[in-house]
């Protein structure tokens, strides 16, 4: 079967859009869940995604240096995902505990500004990891180092493997292999990303709908005070929401690293804004809406590249955000109850 060149290119872009949309959807879920329970935009969410990517890179780098990545690549990738996920989760819970909980009663402006601060702190911490380690390890007592030399150089190398100003590169393990379907080449990497994302999102949906903690999350998002009177531990539920939302961002971070290879400390900003756009497009506070919004944005974005110069890709996302907020502020699947909180 042969396809016309136009349709061929279109299908290729469709696959691309699904891949990008998976990233957006995974990150958007974190925004939407946090907005659900706290009615605030977690400005640092894009940076939590970045921390996930860096934790994943550090892990896969270690596994590669001990040769484990070659001998058992599947398990190595699983471990990378788990560490990236946990790193992001713990960061998310910490950010909530230290930067959001103390200002919860101080008003919206205070919460948002604290979130901007948290975002800057996360980016700068990852960037400065080697510098900070060097400053601590260089502490001298008299003319002697406080720490033994071998320890210093070992730890410094670890710190340099983790963070720093320069862009870092994931090992190219997804490879270029793939298969051809109806004349369109589909790489295994893309299949892995899309399928894994869909499985995770299904799991999240089931968790929120059918488990005890999911019920608690829905209750808190409905009404914090009433939920608390019904015996829901509100603070613990909020922490759990941050844990799960950040875990999804961490997985997206590792995926982006494996797929695009290069990661930077400011990598979270643009995907963060786009994921937020997705969450708003789908209806903020609505979990299936965030997934839908992510895929729609991914597809619109890759299709826009067919019409406009590629440099305007980011402008398209911002324009969609602004148009959604003006004409459809409760989004595609949005719940009216969140509108009153705007």
């Amino acid at each position: 079967m042969t396809l016309s060149p136009g349709l061929h290119a279109f299908l290729g872009q469709l696959i691309n859009g699904l891949t990008v949309g998976s990233f957006y959807a995974l990150i958007a879920l974190g925004y939407t869940m946090v907005y659900g329970v706290l009615s605030m935009v977690n400005f640092a969410h894009g940076d939590i995604f970045m921390v996930g990517a860096y934790c994943g890179l550090f892990t896969i780098g270690r596994l590669q240096s001990i040769g484990y990545l070659e001998t058992n690549p599947v398990l190595a990738i699983v471990v990378t995902f788990v560490v990236g996920m946990l790193g992001a989760s713990l960061t998310g819970v910490l950010v909530e505990r230290l930067a959001y909980r103390p200002v919860r009663r101080a008003g919206r402006l205070a919460a948002l500004i604290s979130a901007i601060g948290a975002s800057i702190i996360l980016q700068e911490s990852v960037r400065l990891v080697p510098t900070i380690f060097k400053a601590i390890l260089d502490i001298k007592i008299g003319s002697h180092n406080l720490f033994p030399d071998a320890f210093i150089s070992g730890l410094l190398n670890l710190a340099k493997d983790f963070g720093g100003s320069a862009a870092k590169t994931y090992p190219a393990i997804l490879g270029t292999g793939g298969f051809t379907l109806a004349g369109v080449f589909i790489s295994y990497g893309r299949v892995l990303i899309v399928v894994l994302s869909l499985i995770i999102m299904l799991a999240l949906y089931l968790l929120v709908q059918y488990t005890r903690i999911g019920r608690a999350m829905r209750a808190v998002s409905e009404d914090k005070d009433t939920a608390s009177l019904m015996g829901v531990n509100v603070n613990r539920t909020i922490s759990t929401t941050f844990f799960i939302g950040s875990a999804l961002a961490g997985i997206a971070g590792v995926m982006v690293g494996l797929f695009y290879l290069q990661i930077r400390v400011d990598m979270g900003f643009v995907p963060g804004i786009k994921a937020f756009t997705s969450a708003v497009l789908g209806g903020i506070g609505n979990i299936p809406g965030a997934m839908l919004g992510g895929y729609i944005l991914g597809l619109v974005e890759v299709l826009s590249v067919q019409v406009l110069p590629a440099v305007y890709k980011d402008v398209v996302a911002f324009v969609i955000l602004i148009l959604t907020l003006i004409f459809m502020p409760n989004g595609l699947l949005g719940n009216r109850k969140f509108l009153k909180k705007l």
């Binding site: 700068e124 003006i326 705007l342």
Partner: protein, 340 residues
């Protein structure tokens, strides 16, 4: 510490003391470039740069501090003002309009941009407004970067004209130092008058509770639009000064970091207080320049400051002093007492 607190308590009560302190500060700042100080040029530059940020802070203060609209795209107005001047008074198109006219035009073009962005977003509040303005700021930067035929892209606009006044060409930092000083005086005075006026009261009402303000007969849409336009005007004007001082500008001069810096300084100083802006700008812009050794940690310290300030002192170092009538309404003082 108690001495400082006592001083502040007296300072708040005695109005003449306020003027004495301000006059002394102004005299010191005015005399500074004329005195023989080591590394004077560096100091003039640092303080002039801090002054530029004070100007921007006064603009953003109208958005965030007075009207309570969190604007994360303030760099856009700054950039629009700067590029308006740069394109109409440089070698780029070989147009050379006079600086003093362009100071106004740059402000007006930025104000127009502020009106255009604000019309669709005026119905939004809080977080949504913040994200939309952030998007607007980024769109502006991306357009400056990519409309290469007009802005020369990342190569920037170079060879921008210097201001000329009575035949004197502004070619040293000291000239700009005095220009910025005068503009700060002018706009501190104007915003001070504005906040005490009917407009200012409407803004504060919107900031405290938009629904109640609307029900009390405040035309919230109109006053929010006015706040957007006036704030953007000051931002654009700052951009014109920046472009003429630097002589060359690039899209990256107007990135998100600028918006966040300006936001930090008005929050640090205390939202809704013009004098707080001055304290905040000196602390945030001048201090890191003096502590060159810590420049690596500058942003990290910014971030920590934001979070810690929000937890400990969400109203800033110099919180807004409520106008007399508002104090009277709270029952804290009787109106008659205050007049004596």
């Amino acid at each position: 510490m108690t001495m400082i607190q006592n001083f502040i308590a007296v300072y708040a009560r005695k109005r003449w003391l306020k003027w004495v302190v301000l006059a002394l500060l102004a005299a010191a700042l005015l005399a500074m470039p004329l005195l023989p100080i080591p590394q004077k040029n560096l100091w003039v530059r640092i303080l002039g740069y801090a002054g530029l940020y004070i100007l921007l802070g006064l603009g953003l203060l109208i958005h965030v501090g007075f009207a309570g609209m969190l604007d994360l795209g303030f760099a856009a107005y700054y950039g629009i003002g700067a590029y308006t001047y740069a394109l109409l008074a440089s070698r780029q198109f070989d147009i050379h309009l006079p600086f003093w006219v362009m100071l106004l035009v740059g402000g007006l073009v930025a104000a127009l941009a502020g009106a255009l962005i604000s019309i669709p977003v005026l119905r939004l509040r809080g977080d949504y407004l913040a994200i939309v303005t952030l998007g607007f700021g980024e769109i502006t930067r991306l357009l400056l970067l990519n409309l290469k035929g007009l802005t020369n892209g990342s190569q920037g606009v170079i060879g921008i004209d210097k201001p000329v006044l009575f035949g004197v060409v502004f070619n040293t930092g000291t000239h700009f130092y005095y220009l910025i000083f005068l503009l700060i005086l002018l706009f501190t005075f104007l915003t001070n008058r504005l906040i005490q006026s009917r407009i200012g009261r409407a803004w504060l009402a919107i900031r405290e509770d938009e629904d109640v303000a609307e029900m009390s007969g405040v035309n919230t849409i109109w006053y929010k639009l006015l706040a957007f336009v006036l704030g953007a005007f000051i931002g654009g004007l700052g951009g014109v000064v920046f472009a003429s001082w630097q002589g060359s500008i690039f899209p990256d001069n107007f990135n998100l970091l600028v918006s966040i810096n300006v936001l930090c300084l008005i929050i640090l100083g205390g939202l809704g207080n013009q004098y707080g802006v001055i304290v905040g700008a000196l602390a945030l812009i001048a201090l890191p320049d003096m502590l060159r050794g810590f420049s690596d940690f500058r942003m990290l310290i910014f971030g920590l400051l934001l979070v810690v300030m929000m937890i400990l002192k969400p109203n800033g170092f110099l919180p807004r002093v409520p106008p007399r009538l508002e104090k009277a309404a709270d029952g804290k003082i009787k109106p008659q007492e205050d007049r004596a």
